[in-house]
Amino acid sequence: MHEMPLIRRELCNGCGLCVDVCVQTVLAMIDDIVAIVDAEHCGYCTDCEVVCPTQAIRCPYEIVFAEYYERRETILD
């Protein structure tokens, strides 16, 4: 399952830069607050995080060793 950028609604100033920068149209403004509307197509490019002037969007990374990651994926499969 794909992780999504995290949105802190209370920090969103409604400028819409993140919506404009997203080539996959993953984001949209709903009632002047950014929302994820098409999670499936998010490529995690982090451009939304880069352009956000209020740090309302965060794109955190999970950091894993390859062995652990592969073992976990095998168990999940």
Binding site: L17, D20, P60, E62, A66
Partner: protein
């Protein structure tokens, strides 16, 4: 058609000017709309104008002969770019691309001496803006030249990698590039470059929201940490 004076107040060069002065300066200001991913300014080309972001986001960057990109800054409402060549007569020092649909205002190079002569307050504003930019770029040069940021990012990744449990069993936090920048004392732009460098060396793989440490030995080597 002249632009309304009130709309010019967000341009840092024109801060503090009277309405009468803004009206005069507005004759030299033009507007430009740019589509997403459109190149606004090309590095090395003759300079035509200094630009001010009205809306949208602009990325200013340099590209090496090998095609590597170094982001210099991300600009938003009120920020200016391509200032230097308008004053020194040289070519554009960096490229600028629209990250979103962008609305700009600009002042042509030829108009700038006229504006400075007629409105000395603009000169004061220009000095302040250029000083802020010098401070930003000096800090970036320091990061890129003297600090071994890639090594510190490598060390940070080693510290935060694993099963996402700390020594006390607490979950290890996931990190944004901004977090990593703050933790190693650099700019986000430099962290992005470091991650790319680590990926090119085969130490890590960036897969969507996950940084996978593909080769711990290479990462340890790059971090300066002995494999022991």
């Amino acid at each position: 058609m002249a632009i309304e004076t009130k709309q010019l107040e967000s341009m840092a060069y024109l801060s503090g000017l009277s309405v009468a002065e803004l009206e005069k300066v507005s004759q030299h200001v033009f507007e430009k709309a740019v589509g997403r991913n459109e190149l606004i300014v090309m590095e090395g080309e003759p300079a035509e104008a200094v630009y001010f972001v009205v809306s949208g986001a602009v990325k200013v960057f340099k590209t090496s002969a090998e095609g590597k990109e170094q982001i210099l800054c991300i600009l938003r409402h009120g920020d200016s770019f391509n200032d230097v060549p308008v004053f020194d007569g040289g070519p554009n020092p960096a490229s600028a691309v629209a990250m979103t649909p962008v609305n700009l205002r600009g002042i042509n190079k030829a108009a700038m001496p006229v504006i400075l002569r007629e409105h000395p307050n603009v000169a004061t504003n220009v000095i302040r803006v250029l000083a802020e930019k010098v401070r930003h770029f000096v800090s970036l040069v320091e990061d890129l030249s003297f600090r071994h940021v890639t090594g510190r990012v490598a060390k940070l990744l080693l510290e935060y990698a694993g099963d996402h449990k700390g020594a006390g069993g607490e979950a290890k936090p996931r990190l944004t590039q901004q977090d990593m920048a703050a933790m190693v004392g650099t700019a986000r732009e430099v962290v992005g470059r470091s991650l790319k460098a680590l990926e090119e060396e085969g130490a890590i793989k960036v897969e969507h929201h996950r940084i996978v440490i593909a080769n711990k030995e290479i990462l340890e080597d790059m971090s300066g940490v002995s494999a022991g």
